[in-house]
Symmetry: C2
Amino acid sequence: MVAHGSRAAAANQAHRELAAALDQVVAPSVVGAFMELAEPSVGDAIATAAREGATTVAVLPYFLHPGRHQELDIPRLVADAAELFPDVSIGLLEAFGSDPAVVELLAAQVSRGLPES
Amino acid sequence: MVAHGSRAAAANQAHRELAAALDQVVAPSVVGAFMELAEPSVGDAIATAAREGATTVAVLPYFLHPGRHQELDIPRLVADAAELFPDVSIGLLEAFGSDPAVVELLAAQVSRGLPES
């Protein structure tokens, strides 16, 4: 699960913790990785998975809105890794924020957060 | 609902569309606003709401991970607006990404996105 990466260590740590929480509730191993500014990089995370015997890696961009990072930078990182590890099937999932369920989650937040009128 | 704001017009437009989708499913009016780089600013969005007769405004930061923007920049924008509109009750909600339900949403994305093993 790839976050942008931040100069703020707390933000990077929050991403690692979110990945660990996700790892607890899904069957595949989940690792928090970063597009830039923090470690592990996407390439390093995929290399570790390959070394540990993974045959399939899915890359989930933890991004809210479309843009250069989602459309160019992350696909390029994934393509670079795919070239290095031809025996691993590496797929790029849709970005987190493109899920229509995000609207439902926001609706619940708004409902909880507003005083009753 | 405040996004960071982007130099990419498509990202800003996606935020406005997400706000419009949310507006359709919750009772309060929802407006997409931006911390920087796009319009309306947080202050402008609150000013418009006040002019239209709002007595309560809740500011929802559409951010994934904690950091300077969530902790300093957006609270400052909200405090500035609160000073300008003393008759409007202006609250700052928790950031979107701090919701534990985000893990469930990610888990569903991972389950959908992986080939069956």
